[in-house]
Point group: C2
């Protein structure tokens, strides 16, 4: 089954990359952007017996590799 | 208003980063992952008169900076 994992910085963690994007958008003349925070998205194809097993696998993937849980949150959506 | 832009590689475009993640998950002993493709996500705060104006602003941001439309798709969600 297909799944999407979204990894975003926790609130309060500085995001210099987002700030740079915000400044770049401003200098390109795009108005009204007041904040940008960048994250990562992973589209995965998982083979698992059922949705609960897939959720378990994806949680392990996030905890062990995809997200740094000290500074990042992750969200798992299974399609 | 808040918006989320998701930028993903188009189908058929090679994703070596995704392949590397897939191999890493396998070597970490996480079973059943059969494909990984990595993308980017941007959480933005937009000030605009209405949803249509926000959509217009975000489309310009994607076309001019956030996505390389030759090889990437983008999706805009306004909350």
């Amino acid at each position: 089954m297909k799944a999407r994992i979204t990894v975003t910085l926790k609130t309060g963690v500085l995001d210099p990359q987002g700030k740079a994007i915000e400044a770049a958008l401003k200098s390109l003349g795009i108005p009204g952007i007041e904040g940008v925070r960048q994250g990562k998205v992973f589209d995965l194809e998982v083979s698992a017996a059922d949705q609960a097993a897939a959720q378990e696998t994806l949680k392990a993937a996030c905890e062990k590799l995809l997200a740094n849980t000290v500074v990042e949150n992750y969200a798992i959506e299974i399609a």
